[in-house]
Symmetry: C2
Subunit: 207 residues, 2 copies
DNA sequence: CCGCATCCTCATGGATACTG
DNA sequence: CAGTATCCATGAGGATGCGG
């Protein structure tokens, strides 16, 4: 753990725990789903293995993360404690705050669809429930895409290789619209539906 | 600015801007009130002057902070931009999240009453308005204290030297009660009042 | 393979001195 | 007062080793 700020202030004490580099991104990853060490290395996209190891120890000692044993035996699963999961609220606030930073698109940055499992609920509120699974439909340039959001991640259709890029552009479009005030939550509603009711989806997609 | 995470994710991009050490505490300080360089050095309690200088430059370049010229002439005033001020929401979320970290009391940590101008509204919600000024009354060990919260900071009475320590213990007591589930917001209401109506205050303090 | 631990290099943070 | 400049300690990042 990095040096404490030494301030009797809620924000300072919070940052003493989750202010170190990578910590909040680890929490984000575990908000998608509990994960193994290798999943975190992949999902964090750039973290050094020694740092991940250190941070997991810190977060465990602080009571944010806990180790579990996988059902089958010897594999270790990292998961958020109840307290750690309560970081969803401030994290969602930061995601909403960052909307103006997203409008320029991905540029050179890496992208993982599972990140949308945290971002979409933050941006769209209760209209998307990722607790179970959800189907989000987004129209791009008149073409319609379905995105399956589950606890394990996110899958896009059609599966033709352009799908993943389409998801990236979908979030960019949504965030852009929100940030510029060009879109309202109510305007997005026709593009979003929860739990794929086939009839509802057909109506939404006009198919 | 520290190295970018290189992730097309709202949280990662937010942290690219405000994730560096001291950045969020600078924002906290400016949420209390716009301030001069010296005020920030004092209010941040421990920041190195070169770091403060660097961070202010970063935050200005990112559009979180802006420099203003004081009315009188050559003095520089640092203030949040409209976007920067929107960090109040996630910061308040972190303050609420940190409640379990506050229950052990100040220990060796420094304390500045002005920090309560951000923390109290976060913990007590709309019951305290720091936009203008507010009077918060807290009972400690049967003794009653009044805390004047204004845009410029916070002042405690009685002014007998024990007052400041009392404020510290007051927040500890409030936070402790909330965290342990021993206090409910409605239970705190009798101890809190907005805008000192003399009659109401006398009733509250039983004086 | 997974789950780390070690080693090394270099950027960043922290404390202090200094300047317009 | 409002910052710069300087020096040193620390932490990040990358490569690699290593036991299960």
């Amino acid at each position: 753990m990095s040096r404490s700020y030494g301030q009797y202030c809620g924000l300072a004490r919070a940052l003493d725990v989750i202010g170190d580099r990578w910590n909040l991104l680890i929490v984000r990853q575990l908000l998608v789903a509990p994960a193994r060490y290798r999943d975190l290395l992949d999902g964090l996209a750039g973290v050094a293995t020694n740092l991940l190891s250190d941070r997991l120890r810190d977060l465990e000692a602080a009571g944010v993360v806990e180790r579990r044993l996988a059902d089958e035996g010897n594999a270790v699963i990292y998961a958020l404690t109840a307290w750690g999961a309560q970081l969803r609220e401030p994290i969602e606030g930061l995601i909403r705050w960052s909307a103006p930073l997203m409008v320029r698109g991905p540029a050179e940055d890496r992208f993982r669809p599972e990140w949308l499992a945290v971002a979409l609920p933050a941006l769209l509120g209760s209209r998307v429930k990722t607790d179970r699974s959800a189907t989000v439909g987004v129209a791009i340039d008149g073409q319609l895409f379905q995105v399956q959001v589950t606890g394990k991640g996110l899958d896009a259709s059609p599966h033709d290789g352009r799908a993943l890029d389409a998801v990236v552009r979908a979030e960019a479009a949504i965030v852009l619209g929100l940030a510029a005030g060009m879109l309202d939550f109510d305007e997005i509603r026709p593009l979003v539906e929860v739990e794929g009711d086939e009839t509802a989806l057909r109506a939404i997609f006009g198919a």
